[in-house]
Each structure stands twice: as C-alpha cells, then as structure tokens.
C-alpha cells in the first residue's frame, strides 16, 4: 500500500464543458489515497459534469486527470482500458444494463476483463451480491427492481473488479433515510477497512457531514472551486458566505435586482 499522503487523484487546470461551452474552468485539486472526497454544490454547478470528465466519459478541453500517478486524461488504447478497470462507478440510478439480469450485470466486467473460470466468476458474483443484500434477487431484471435495489446492485457491479477508486454519483438520491444512512455507513467502512479512495458527488447535507473527510464546493458563478476543506470547519468558519449558507442550509441573501420576469 502506498503512504498515507500519496495522491490517488490529482486534477490540474481542468476545463470541463460540452459542445464548446465551458461549465467549469481551471480546476485543480487533489484527493489523497484512502480519503472520502465529496464534490458538492448547488444544482447546475457542474458536479455531474466534473464526474463525467473524471471518469473519462467526456474528454476535458484542457488540463489533466491523474489516477495513482498515471495520466488518465491522455492515456490511450490498452493503457486507458487498464486504468478504466482500476475504478468503479455507482451511477445515480444504478445504470444497470436492462437486457441483463442482476447477476449478469455484475458478472459482465468479470467475464470481459478477467481470465477467471466461469464457476469462480459465479461465486464472485454471488459474493458481491450477498454483500449488498441482493443475492436473492440475482435472477431479476433491472426493470423488476426498486430504486434502492438498483443502487445496491449497481454498487455490487462497481465493486466487481475490486477497484482502488470508487466514484458515487448522488448515492443518497431517491433513497429513504435509513437506506441512505446504511449506504453512508457502507461508504465509510469501505474507506476505513479497505483503504479505497472514494469520490462522492452529492448535495445531501446529512451525507456530506457523515462521510466526508474533505469536501470541495463548486461555484456556478465563477465556474470553479468555491472552497475545499473539512465540511464541519467550513460550515462554521468559512470566509465565504455562500459556503456557510450551503452547509448550514440557510436561504440565500438576494441582491437588489429582481429575478422576476413579468410578461405584459
């Protein structure tokens, strides 16, 4: 294992956007190995956009993303494929492949990326499903699952290749409070015992305070980072009013200009 201070993810001068339209500019931040790093911010500030650029779904227009010392943003061909196997992603709605059963969803990465025997893969699949309490539903198709079950199955699939980094896109959304709390506990324990680096995109305050070692707040206005720090400290002592408002769930102070458009 690497040292405590080694960096799992290093982002330098990253520009994110779609179709020539910049959403975020010049982002630079680091995520330590074994850390739970939360990306937060108001709706539309580019949290999910940043996640898509981090995991390589969109190519950044500038800057670089380094995973465990290797530049992912410029990696091509086999090297890129190898790096893609080193991280898992739990998408917001689970993103299970609808034509495959739950078990087949978890098995597919193992079948495609490993040379393990089929019966061993079957055992690994059932093991991962048992850990997220989905073993009894292995034969069901995603359309037959509830939202929480889809998320659990998605987590089993994200862990299929025992990744070193796990990304979560809005893990608590659509879950009832006890289930969301259970997922938060799982996230913490994965970090505590396995040393997995976790990057969680969320704006659920309860989750942020419960799990985050460090949190980064994005700003819609400046298209960049508002602040990085420990959530509890930021909530109390942040010099930025927007950060305190966000973390303390306070209403925004409006400026003098009206935002209401009256049509005659």
């Amino acid at each position: 294992m690497s040292g405590k201070d080694s960096k799992a993810i290093v982002v330098r001068n990253l520009d994110c956007g779609y179709d020539q339209k910049a959403v975020l500019r010049g982002l630079s931040f680091e995520v330590r190995e074994g850390e739970i790093f939360v990306i937060m911010g108001e709706s539309g500030c580019g949290k999910s956009t940043l996640l898509k650029h981090l995991i390589g779904l969109h190519a950044p227009s500038a800057g670089e993303v380094v995973f465990l010392g290797r530049d992912f943003s410029r990696a091509q061909g086999p090297e890129r494929h190898e790096m893609q196997r080193s991280f898992g992603v739990l998408y917001q709605g689970g993103a299970l492949w609808s034509s495959l059963t739950v078990a087949e969803n978890v098995a597919l990465p193992l079948i495609e990326h490993t040379a393990l025997a089929k019966d061993l893969i079957d055992d690994m699949v059932m093991l991962k499903l048992a850990l997220v309490r989905m073993d009894a539903y292995a034969h069901l198709f995603p359309s037959e699952l509830s939202g929480g079950m889809k998320k659990r199955a998605g987590l089993a699939r994200a862990m299929a290749l025992d990744p070193k980094i796990l990304f979560f896109d809005e893990p608590s959304s659509g879950l009832d409070p006890p289930t969301a709390r259970e997922l938060d506990d799982l996230i913490k324990r994965v970090r505590d015992t396995m040393g997995t680096t976790l990057v969680v995109v969320t704006h659920e305050l309860a989750s942020i305070f419960a799990i985050a070692d460090n949190a980064m707040m994005l700003s819609k206005e400046s298209q960049g980072i508002e602040e990085i720090g420990r959530p509890a400290e930021m909530a109390e002592h942040s010099p930025r009013e927007r950060v305190r408002q966000f973390l303390n769930r306070l209403p925004r102070a409006h400026s003098g200009e009206t935002a209401i458009y009256v049509k005659n």
Binding site: F67, S86, S98, L110, L116, D123, K128, A138
Partner: protein
Amino acid sequence: MIQSRWDWYLDFMDEVPVTSVDAALAAPPLLRVQEEHGSLSVFFQGDWTWRAPQPALLALEQGLAKGVKEVCCRTEGVKQWDSSLLALLLRLRRQCEEAHISFRADTLPTRLKRLLDEVPRIRSPKEPPAAQAGLFKSAGQKAIGFFESAYRTLYFTGECAQALAKVCRFPKALRWPQCRMVMQECGPASLGIVGLVSFLTGCILAWQGALQLRQFGAEIYVADLVGVALVREMGPIMVAIVLAGRIGASFAAHLASMEASEEVDALRTWGFSPVQFLVLPRLVAMTCMMPLLVLYADVLGIAGGMVVSVGFLGVARSAFLAETWQALALTDLRVGLLKSLVFAAGVAGIGCATGLKAERSVDGIGDATTSSVVKSILFIIVVDAIFGACSQPSIRL
C-alpha cells in the same frame, strides 16, 4: 444483517494487503497440494488477484479425487489478494461438501473463517416456476390480448375524435406552437427525402413500364402509367411510408420516453388530457402536411418518369406532358389525397398510441418505436388495398 456481512468482509479485506491498481504482481499465484494420512493441505502463495493468471487447479482436483477425508487451506504465503481468492475458497468448500470431504478452515485467519461461515446463507434466487401454457390457454390468452388491443384502439380513436371535436369548437384548445413545430418537421424538413424517393419511384415506374410497352410500340403510354400510378397509388404510399419511418417512429419514441420519465403522469395529475396535449398537435400537423407532400411527390415522380421517357425512350417532352394531362382525371387526384389524409391520421395515431402505452423502460422505448413503424406500414398497405377495392370503376368514388 448487511452490517454484519460487511463487517466480516471488510475486516477480512483488512487483514491481508489489498492489491494496488498499479502494483506490479511481484509473485505469481501458486497453489501447492500436499497429501498426508488422508488429509489434503492446500497452500496458497503469491499474489491472488484477478489480474494474475490463475494457476491450474488440476493438482487440487486430483488430490480431491484420491478420496481424501479432509482438506485444509493455508493462506500464510499470500501477499496480494482480492475477492477472486475468496471465491476460490468458496468453490473449494462447495466441492468438499458435495464429495462429503471435511473442509477445515481453522488454519485460515479467523475473520475469513467467519466470512466463509456466513456465505452459505447467500439466498439462492427464487425463480418462479415456468408456466405451462397449453394450446387452449395460449389461444385464449391471444384472443383476450386481441380484444383488449382492439378495445384500446377504439378507446384511443374515440379520445382523439373527442379532442378533435373540442378543437373544432374552441380552436385555442390546440397547442398551435407545438403543432407548427411538428408541421415543420413533417413538411419542409421532409422535402428532401420525399422528393428523392418520389423522383426515383417515377424513374423506376417509367423504366419498368417501358420494357413492357415497347413490345407494342406504345412507349408514349408510359406517361399514362407513371401519372396514374403515382397520383393514385405510389405517391401517397411512398410519402406515408417515409413519414412512418421518419416522423411516426419519432412520435412513438418521444411519447414513450415521456411515459418512462413520468411526464405523461404529470399531465394526467394536472387534469390535462395526454391526447389533447400530446396526440392532437401531432395528428393535426401530420394530417395537414401529408396531402401537400403527396402533391409535391406526384409532381416530382412525374418529372422522374419524364426524365426517363425523354432521355432514354425518345418520347417528346410535350407529348409526355400532354399524354399525362389527358390520362389523369380529377378523381385520381381526389383518391390520392383522400388516401393521404387517412394514412396521415393512421401513421400519427399509431405512433402516438404505441408511444403512450409503451413499457417504462429502455426496452419499452425501443419496442414502441419498432412496433410503430411495423404497424404503420401494415396499416398503409391494408388501407390502400381497401381503397383499391372500393375505387374500382364500377364503384368509382
């Protein structure tokens, strides 16, 4: 329950160094088997991860086949690992259970043993027993399905008629901005493909007609053939098929995705009729635009026939036009335009209906799109055949 399982799994993971993403595999995984007094000791050594080629398990299987009474696993020599090792241990234990061999796990780390104890409680999937559908049952189900489908179609048609009547009384009830957008998509945006298809259809008709008529020295009658066939049959059919693929399918996909994302439910909750809001603008737009497209297609199709006749068959342009003018009756145009109205209503209605009753899934959207195109083309052909039968000279419209 989930908490305890995670405890064991994660504590187990914590005991042995977890494999690093970019860590070079220092030692390949090795499996050594040693048999002594009916007890088989299995030594795991090296890096046991899915990245490493798994060693052959032949020695292990041979050892098990020798009739040993006990298997003892030892993992002290393991340096890196992941869940592939755990799965292998699970598999070995299952084999031992099947062969009534004692599986000793006491030499394994305590927490791994606890995890292994927990895993038999993995609930096997409870698949429902496959229903035995007999001949009568499946025939009955099909019949019920047919009548249900017919009822839904009638109900939908009634809803459309009701909404249309409302729009006739209160024209503002129609969402004109959306209707104009659909008109733009059906009409001007379709001119290119409709023009190309019609022009080539005219060319093909002229060629095929000329091959036969030339035998009688009657090439000039190619104009009659092209003109009448296009205006009465091919023009409306080709335009309807193009719009079924281009527009009807997009109606189905759009409404199916709205159904999947609960947008249609939101309309119903607000007391808005989905037929009024979603179907009618599309129906009206398609019904307005298709006759115009058919006229355009007729002109281009006849132009295609003329290009072939004048360019390759030696027919004079003025003779071709005069013959076409003489051959065509107003009734032909009327039949063609009437067909186009029915086709338009059918294609738009089928596209919207299949979209609205689609399953709320990714597959549902795909199925609705395919089904819409297939049903629309079937509808076009069947309705055209009915028109053909009804518009014979004896019962000419």
